[in-house]
Amino acid sequence: MSLLEIKDLRVAVDGHQILKGLNLTINPGEVHSIMGPNGSGKSTLAQVLARRETYEVTGGEILYNGKDLLAMKPEEAACEGVFMAFQYPVEVPGIGNAYFLRSAINAQRKYRGEDEMDAMDFLPLFRERLKLLEMDEKLINRSVNEGFSGGEKKRNEILQMAMLQPKLAILDETDSGLDIDALRIVANGVNALRGPERSMLVITHYQRLLDYIVPNFVHVLVDGQIARSGGPELARELEETGYGWAETETQALHA
């Protein structure tokens, strides 16, 4: 069974149609990349998958693990194993990183009927993952993302992913704003989490990240629809040709 099946998804934001019949199937263990020009609907797709309620789904369906994802609240989707690394991680003053993460892990465990993780089990794991992301231990008790640099925030997203161990990880432009060192660290973190039980949807504007995280499939999203799909070579092709062709093609399609 496929992990994620998106059928004819149509989504509007403030009455403006963004996704116009998107189809995508992801199987367990696969890494898919969605590329496309600004405004094509990449982030909208990520937000809808994470169940952001401000996006209005006007048509289509999403099956996740055979369940209706669109009927889930954000926390339910999270507890079912959906994780989105935010394009713009939110600062949450007054809530410590470790406290927040342990609360999240335990909320998910409770949902699944598992025992809570106590601080004794949590801290060693947290320290190990901090090392993976080459992050300072001081971050343990600092407020979530508060005063973090852009790179630290993105690393913190991957750190959370490494702790929460999702089935479906959505990386929403995690590479944007990263210098080459930070990009390598983030990509290493992501690659360490690849496995037969975990699927990923890597959303990016540039091919750069895909040199580090090599996807199984690349899709080009143009004007709310997947215009082309292919293997990793498609990403390199796009880097050379840009998205101009795709736009012309879709216009022709709609004409």
Binding site: A50, R51, R52, E53, T54, K73, P74, E75, A77, A78, C79, F83, M84, F86, P89, V90, E91, V92, P93, G94, I95, F100, L101, S103, A104, I105, A107, Q108, Y111, S143, Q160, L164
Partner: protein, 461 residues
């Protein structure tokens, strides 16, 4: 007139107490009480036409006939949960009267004297005479005048020169068994001598339902280099009226903190009035108020810089749900000679419902020319972004909201340096926030019926 009839209760009480006291009290105190009564009698309970009371309508209080509470005994188990673990000593007052059987004042560290105020007056009165009534401004404040006329007891705390008292002093004021609405007028005096160090927790609790009025005045005199923290915790029932006034006199290089945590009570007014009277004095006025139902929580600050190089910081956070109303009135007065004053005031508020209301009013009066004064206020809601962020990691909406509320409240907790006091306060804050995030959608608000016809100040103006 209805008002005259009601205030007859206060007159009766005053006459009744005068008879009991007779010559038992020193002459200076009797004069002070008479002065308090005269001022209250001529001014009466303030109305919204008084600028200092613009946002708080006292009609429900004026309408209520309060009497002195019955002499009653309370069992130790009834107050056990209310005690601060790790306090150096504990003074318990029941219906305004000292309850020695519930209090613990033995084995005090050297340099600390603690007793009830009436006991202190019986023993030696120099300190009391020197300080009592010196800092409360009766002409400004009718409730302080009423308190002066009617107080029966309160705490007397004397920290000797250089004494460092590590653990906080806990003052617990409980009201109970009021068949009809009862009133108490606790009066406390804290004298911190030169370079002394102490923390005092003033705590108001109802042990039974029903309306009560607690009208307290605490005077705190901090001599040069003293470091003193004062905590006020209001956690009475939602039919209660609580008017509290803290008057602080600060000497040279003193460091005084006032932490006010208003969680309970129906109609609450908290006055904090520090006077920075010695050069280099520092004052922190930290507050948190959390209201729901029809609670009305009014915070009135008057910070007076009367000497050079003083610094004052006001930080107040408010959380209001349902039809609760909050007021922040922050007045900073910088006198002519108080050059190099650095005064800052911040009031941040979260409104959790459309019917909640916050009035915030900064007021700066600066008569010196070389000062730094800033103020800022915000009124907002729990933002969608962080809420979604927390939920996207698996926390349900209620837990996520609760966590964000707690984080907002924790800004105030983080400014409290005395660990036992901070932990003590924290448990009540957690409990109150939990009640609010649980009650928000489903439960009817706790009601204060008498406050329902409080008109908006605009309608009166």
């Amino acid at each position: 007139m209805a008002t005259a009839l009601r205030s007859k209760n206060y007159l009766d009480t005053f006459s009744e107490l005068e008879k009991v006291r007779q010559a038992a009290e020193p002459v200076w105190l009797r004069h002070l009480r008479a002065e308090g009564w005269d001022i209250f009698n001529s001014s009466g309970i303030p109305t919204v036409r008084n600028e200092d009371w613009r946002f708080t309508n006292l009609a429900p209080l004026t309408r209520t006939e309060f009497r002195r509470g019955p002499k009653t005994s309370v069992s130790r188990t009834a107050i056990e949960d209310a005690l601060l673990a790790g306090a150096v000593c504990q003074l318990v007052f029941v219906n305004g009267r000292f309850a020695p059987e519930l209090s613990r004042v033995n084995n005090l560290p050297s340099g600390l004297e603690v007793s009830s105020l009436s006991q202190a007056l019986n023993h030696k009165t120099e300190n009391a005479e020197q300080h009592l009534g010196r800092y409360a401004n009766l002409h400004r404040d009718a409730f302080a005048a009423l308190n002066t006329a009617l107080w029966e007891d309160g705490a007397y705390i004397h920290i000797h020169k250089g004494a460092r008292i590590q653990q906080p002093i806990h003052l617990l004021f409980v009201t109970t068994d009021g068949a009809s609405p009862i009133m108490t007028h606790p009066r406390s005096l804290i004298v911190a001598e030169q370079a002394s160090h102490a923390a005092v927790v003033e705590d108001y609790v109802s042990l039974s339902p029903g309306a009560a009025l607690s009208n307290s005045v605490t005077e705190l005199a901090a001599a040069d280099d003293a470091i003193v923290s004062h905590y006020l915790i209001e956690r009475e029932n939602y039919d209660s009226f609580n008017i509290s006034t803290l008057c602080i006199e600060q000497g040279r290089n003193t460091n005084v903190s006032s932490h006010s945590v208003l969680l309970g009570g129906g109609l609450v007014r908290n006055n904090v009035h520090p006077v920075l009277n010695g050069p280099g004095a520092e004052c922190l006025i930290n507050g948190l108020f959390v209201g729901a139902g029809r609670q009305h929580l009014d915070n009135y600050m008057l910070v007076e810089h009367a000497s050079a190089h003083g610094s004052s910081r006001q930080f107040y956070n408010g959380i209001l749900d349902q039809q609760a109303r909050g007021v922040f009135h922050g007045r900073i007065v910088v006198h002519k000679d108080a050059q190099k004053t650095d005064a800052k005031q911040t009031n941040r508020n979260l409104l959790l419902s459309d019917d909640a209301r916050m009035d915030t009013k900064p007021q700066l009066e600066i008569r010196a020319d070389d000062v730094k004064c800033t103020h800022g206020a915000t009124i907002g809601r729990i933002e969608d972004e962080p809420l979604f962020y927390l939920r996207s990691r698996g926390l349900d909406e209620k837990s996520a909201r609760n966590l964000l509320l707690y984080a907002f409240a924790a800004e105030c907790l983080d400014r409290m340096n005395e660990q036992p006091a901070r932990e003590f306060v924290e448990q009540f804050i957690r409990q109150r926030l939990h009640e609010i995030s649980t009650a928000s959608q489903t439960m009817p608000p706790p009601s204060l019926d008498k406050a329902q016809d409080v008109p908006d100040p605009e309608e009166i103006a």
